[in-house]
Structure formats: structure tokens, C-alpha cells
């Protein structure tokens, strides 16, 4: 079985949750399903990702929260948690071409 990635350090969760919230708030389609897991769970939207990571940062445990932690732990394992947060915030700075940012 593939080695699971290292767990996200609890101390980093609030900053990561905040970055995902900013990313979600600026997402072009915050309520559109983005990720599906063929284990029978509900598809995740950007807003759903942000809500579940906020729950994780507050110490809640739930299978839906675990799924989001699993996803972001892989991303953090790939590039480091600081770069991951930086990339989320960098995306959030973008504006639609030829338009205005709508919140």
C-alpha cells in the first residue's frame, strides 16, 4: 500500500485554513463540485473545502474532515506547507481578465 503522506502539523492548520478560505472566497465557482471521491462521499466544493479545513483547524474530527486533510496533506508533502499557502494566496490575488473581482 502506498505510504500515506505525513500528517499536517496541527500548528499549521489555522494558517492553511485561512488561506483556503481566502482562496474559496475568490474562486470563480465557489459552490461548484470540484473533487469527487468514489467511496460514496459527497463531492467537495471550494466552499466545502474551506469549511472542512476550518473544522480541522478547530480540532473537529469527522470522515469528511479527514478526507480534506488527506488531500491537503498530499499537496503539502509535494511542495511544503509554506509554498502551498503561498500558492493559495497568490491565486486569490488574481482578477478575472477584463472584469472586476466579485465577492
Amino acid at each position: 500500500m502506498a505510504e500515506p503522506p505525513p500528517a499536517l502539523p496541527p500548528a499549521a492548520l489555522p494558517a492553511l485554513a485561512a488561506a483556503i478560505r481566502v482562496w474559496s472566497d475568490n474562486h470563480p465557482d465557489p459552490d461548484a463540485p470540484v473533487f469527487g471521491f468514489p467511496d460514496g462521499s459527497v463531492p467537495l466544493t471550494p466552499r466545502g473545502l474551506a469549511e472542512r479545513m476550518s473544522m480541522a483547524a478547530a480540532g473537529h474530527t469527522h470522515p469528511e474532515v479527514d478526507r480534506v486533510l488527506w488531500l491537503y496533506s498530499h499537496a503539502a508533502a509535494a511542495v511544503g506547507i509554506d509554498e502551498l499557502i503561498g500558492r493559495l494566496l497568490a491565486l486569490s490575488q488574481l482578477r478575472p481578465r477584463g472584469g472586476f473581482l466579485v465577492r
Partner: protein, 229 residues
Amino acid sequence: MTAVALLSPEGDKTEQVMGQWSASLASILSGDPRYTVLSDARGAVVCQANLAQQVNGADAVLYFGHGKPDHLGNPVQVMTAQDGPTVAHLAIGGMACHAGARLGHDLVNQSSARGFLGFDDQFCVYLANPSVFGSVITAALRELLDPASTGDAALKVLKDGFHHLRFHYQAVERDPTATQRQRYAAHEIWMASYPNELTAVWIAPSAGGTPGQAVAGDHEDDSGLMVYA
């Protein structure tokens, strides 16, 4: 000629996206004289009670939907270890979460299935653009079905495909000429590709060690693609 059975429950949004991969593959196979699509079952007819009939005469069965470690199908079970005699000697593509962790091993090692291509942990489907992951999945399954190829080669196509997506879309995410929507989408595809690359497995009776794990000699080449020893 390789006879193929396709099973797509299409019970919810995630399975419907996966059903598009199945439809795409069916279209490709129908135009190739080396293959015949024996059955292309969709919706509620995909269930354990109908499995024997749907795979009767097939050389390979390809499933696209929910899974758990010990079964394909959720909440309606489609295939468990009890179906070993039904799928004996078939190549199985289990495009589902978790089933490569236990079910694949049970079917191959206890019931002589030819092999099982799948995922041994969660499998993340990018829903916003089905064709992005669909192209990787269909390429790997075509390799699995190819009589001149091997399951190991199919696994390599699967892993390399997600690896390529990860690096390609990481670059798109950083591309200042891309639109906001394109860069957000690129970030999401990058996020979902990496775990899929890691958890893909090919389980074969003769495979030594744990399928899907890196072995001595595996390395990334200069282009960033994985080279398997």
C-alpha cells in the same frame, strides 16, 4: 479478439463523471477490431445479482464507480471476494476508491483473476472537467486490454499520466498569461493528480512485494517522468 465488459453504476455526480470515461472508452474500443464490447451496463442494472450475466464470456471487466476496501459498489455492492469464481481469469480494472487495498488481492490471489488495476487508497476525481482525468484513465485501461501489453505497463501509463498532469498543471497555475479561471482549475488538477499517482496499483499473481510501491531503481528522469525499474 478481447471481449470487454463495462460496468458504470452512474448513481451520483462522481459516478456520472466516471461514466463519461466509460462511454469514451466504449467508443474507442468499438472502433478497434481487436476488441468487442460484450456489455456496457449502466445505472441500477449494475449490481452483484447481475454480475455473472454481464461478464459472461468476457476477457476483462472494467468498473467505474464507488468502492471500498472489500467491495466494488457503494451503497449497492457490485463485486466482492465472493465473486472470485465469476471473474476468475479476467483482467479487472477497478476505477474506484480503496478496492486495490484488499479486494484486488483477494480476487487475484484466492480466485485467479488475471490481475487488478486500481487504487489502494482514496481516488480523487476532478469533477469540473471530466476529460482531464478521463484521458489518463482510458489510456491506462487500453494498455490493460492490449493483448501485446502487460498490467505493469498499464500501471506505468496510469502513474505517468497523473505525474504528467501534476507537472503540466503546476506550470499552468503559475502562467501569468492564463486566465484566473484557468489558473484556479490548474491548481485543482495539480492537487488531485498527486495522490492518484501514488495510490495506483497493479496486482498480479506473480508480482513480488506490494504492488504499486516503489522498488530499488525507480527514479525520475530529467523530464520529471517516473521511470520504473
